[in-house]
Structures are given as structure tokens and as C-alpha cells.
Amino acid sequence: MEALEQFGKYSLLLYRSLRSLYEVDTYRKNLINELLKIGYESVPIVLLTGVFTGAVMTIQTAYQLDIAFIPVSIIGAITSESLLMELAAVITSLVLAGKVGARIATELGTMRVSEQIDALESMGFNSVSFLVLPRVLAGLIMFPMLYIFASVSGILGGLVAGYFSGAVSPAEFMSGAREFFFPWDVTFGILKAFVFGFVITSVSCFKGYYASGGAEGVGNSTTQATVLSCIYVLLADFVLAAVFL
């Protein structure tokens, strides 16, 4: 019953966000701010995650396919395909659920318990348009871009790891990657990142916006936002695979 009530409140918050899309003057400044925070400030951690994921993927694939009659170029194919279709979007999103989701939930939660959201409403602001909408929009815009960064850095990480470990030369790695490349895989990855961006930012906004109970309440909201974001990302990942593949 409580889960239904929570879902109802979440849906209502999204509806209110959608309905205030036309209030561009209210959220323009915050949107730019959030694009920078969610996008620009996340680039280093996304690149790092991508590079190491690609590198580990290459080394493990080489280890598992250490059979004479399988061409080593298949390592490049498996690494790049795995990154484009799954790992770049999912692992990046799980990392960002911690970085972005926790920040959003803490910010909004603190604003809620210190009555800053009430202060906005009492001035005549639409607090949803001012606080929630720009964060969700920034997530929708920036997560696909971060996915591209993660994919490219992952493939480069795999290529470099393959070269230095002696498992596969850069030319063979890229040859395998090119041979098994399908544009749909990238489209699917971008779609995933778009959905994950929405899930993480909207769930975190919801948890922060309705936080209560002082510092402990904000802490609980932040924990719930991070955990639920991760769970919903994995669920959404399964649903997207089941529907589109």
C-alpha cells in the first residue's frame, strides 16, 4: 500500500514537472548549472570508469579465449560490443547514481528540511519547475553524452591494455571492433543512457523533494535515492533488453 502511495506521489511530481516545461524563465539558469554539474563535472569519473572497464574486459576476454583457432581480433569485437551495448551505459550509470543521485537527493533534502523549498513556494515560485525539472532535463541531456565518453574511453582503454599485455595488437583490436560494429548497438546504448539518466535524476529528486526529519531524514533520503536508483537502473536495463533485443 505504501509503495503504491509512493508511486502515486512520484508520478504526480513528474506530472507537475512536465506541466511546468513552459516556465523556461524559472528553470533556465538552474538548467545550465545542472548541465555543468551532471555533465561537465562527471567527465573525469566517467572517463576513468570507461578506461578501466575496457581494459579489464580486454584482458579477461583474452584470458578466456586463449584457444589457438580463435582469431585475436575477436577480443576487440567482444570488448567494443559489450561496452557499446551494456557496460558503458550500465556501469557509468551505477557510478553516477552515487555521484549525481546522492548530490541531488542531499541538496533537495536539505532545502526541504531547512524550509528553503517552503520559502520558494511562499514567494510564489513553482518549486518543482525551479528545482526538479532542470535536474531531470539535465540528466536526460547529459547521460547520453556521458555514455559516448564512456564508450570511446572504454574502447581506447581496451586497445591500450591489449597492446601492453600482448594479447592483441591495436590493428587487430580495431579490426575486430569494426567487423562486428552495428549502428543499432550505439542507438540502443544511447537509449539506455537516456532512460537511466531519467531514472536516476527523477528518483533522486523525488527522494530529496519529499525528505523529512532533519539531518537523519536527509541521510535516509540520500541512501534510498542511491540504492533505488541502482536497482531501477538494473531493472530498466533488463526491460530494455527484453523489449528491444
Binding site: 524563465d25 524550509e115 528553503q116 517552503d118 520559502a119 511562499s122 514567494m123 510564489g124 513553482n126
Partner: protein
Amino acid sequence: MIEIRNLTKSFGSNLVWKDVSFNIEDGETVAIIGRSGCGKSVLVKHFNALMYPDSGEVIIDGNNVFELEYVDLRKMRQRFGVLFQGSALFDSLNTFENIAFPLRYFSDFDENEIKKKVEDALDMVNLTGTGDQSPAELSGGMRRRVALARATILQPDFLIYDEPTSGLDPQTSEEINQLIISMADNLNITSIVVTHDIHSVLKIADRIAYLEEQSLYWHGTVEELRKSEDRILMDFITASEYQIRS
């Protein structure tokens, strides 16, 4: 005038108060008093529909605020200034920007006019030259005064003070009391003050509403309060060290 009619509020199965009715006349200062947790702050949050009741009405200029469309409700809310209990300053903005915030979104003033208005507001609350400081750098009393400057910057018709002197030393409390009096006198604002500081109440209020036993137990003028023989009311009033009959 604000007409409060038969307001009833509960959280789940916990009744906060029921059938609360009284009027707040234009230009007067009304103090809402009662024990901690009796729902004083909850009550005033109904005046500008920051909260909705289980039943009842709040009528402002003939309109029930709970029936307004969101666009009209936001316009009505702009007629209120609210000084929140914890000041509710935006911690990402400095003092100047906190006060300028409503002007930037709800007025057509250019940057020079905004600067002048904010400086005037800082002068009014005796905080000249503190515009660059962040809320974290200010004392509790200074934060209240900045919040008061922000609450009045759009020249509201009604000003709600939620526990304006709680947690402050007597001298700073006195400064806040003087500001409340001068706001009411100079800006002709209708003031609603939530407090359990009886010293403040006797100093600033024209009328008093006392919440007790989950209802509006008593309301009247300060003079009527002084003459009252009601034991429950007197127990609450004299529980403070201030002796009103002395």
C-alpha cells in the same frame, strides 16, 4: 482581511486542531501562541496554502485560498512575506543575492534599482555592508534580519513571523521585536507572529490567539488577556518568568 473558518487539520490519525475560526484585520498584529507542538506553525502555513486542511476555509479578499488555481495561488502567495523559523536563507547565495532573489524573478527592476533596493533593505534591518557575506557567516539574529529583509522586499500585504525570537539572546530578541513593530507601523503590513515568547507577545501584538486542547482555546486583545481569569490561559502565560500583572 484574512478570515479563518472552521479549519481542521490532522496528520494521519493525529488530530492537530479542529474548528479553528478567527479573523485577522488589515494592519493589525496578531500573535498565535501555544505550547510547543500544538500546531502554531502548521496553522499559519494554511494562510498561504503551503499546507491544506482536512476541512475549513481561509478567505482572503473573498477567495478561499484552497480553491485557487495554481497560477492564482502563486499570485496570492506573493502577497505574503514569510520569516521562517530557521530563516530558510538559500545557502548557495550570499546575503545580497538572497534579498535580491524575489526581485530578480518577480519585478522589472534593472540591476541598479535592485542594488539600491537591497541596500535599503539591509539598512532597514541594520545590516549595512553585509551583502557579500554568506548565510553561514552570519549569526542567528543576523540571519533572521536578512530573512526579514527578503520577506519584505516585494512589499507584501501580510507578513508571517514563525518563532522570530526563538533561540536568540534577550537583546537580539528585543531588536527583532522592534523591527516587527517598525515593519507594521512604517510599511502598514498585517503581521501574524507565531511565538511562545510572552514578553514579545505583550510588546508587539494587538490581538492574541491561543491554541490549546487541539482547538483555538482563547482569542482576544492584550488588554483582555491581562484581565483574563481563565486558569489554563494564565498557567500558560505565567509559566514564563514574565509576570503580566506586576
